[in-house]
Amino acid sequence: MPMQAADIERMIKDALPDAKVEIRDLAGDGDHYAATVISSAFRGLPKVKQHQLVYAALKGNMGGVLHALALTTSPE
């Protein structure tokens, strides 16, 4: 079952409480999303680590029920 945008946002905010999260459903199928995540937790981290923080927040759903989440991360 695909994930709802609200579920994705909630999981990211649970892990990164100060995060500003914006999610777009790219294809309207509940399976291809783009997310912009802004959190101070990213400061000083390389992009790979920033994205790994978001993937960790999604607790294994990424690459599984969630096929596609185009990520843009930024510390501010």
Partner: protein, 111 residues
């Protein structure tokens, strides 16, 4: 280290640029893999591509190797660079060309 882990480790350390993708450079089976191929071709970087759809062990193994849940994955000089989003951002900012140059990898000029 498991066999697949040792295989991946050897691949990324003995080839300058390695891409793990779905499908082949000629026939990418996923839009994200296709985008990375287009970028690598555009910057003229020589690369070795592995099709994870041919090998279930590799498909799972590469996710464990990089602690990264998705494919494609790009490696330069043994270093995990990122997936499609990061590669695209680095391409647009010029960082990708810089990383290749800093790594001493010769790129073919387009044209």
């Amino acid at each position: 280290m498991t066999d697949i882990n040792a295989f991946i480790d050897n691949e990324v350390k003995t080839n300058d640029v390695v891409l793990f993708m779905k499908g082949t450079p000629q026939f990418p089976m996923c839009g994200f893999s296709g985008q990375v191929i287009q970028i690598l071709d555009y910057v003229g970087a020589p690369y070795k591509a592995h099709n994870v759809l041919d090998n279930a062990d590799l498909r799972q193994g590469i996710k464990d190797y990089a602690n990264w849940p998705t494919i494609p994955q790009l490696y330069i000089k043994g270093e995990f660079i990122g997936g499609c989003d990061i590669v695209r951002e680095m391409f647009q900012s010029g960082e990708l060309a810089q990383t290749l140059a800093d790594s001493g990898i010769e790129v073919k000029k387009a044209g």
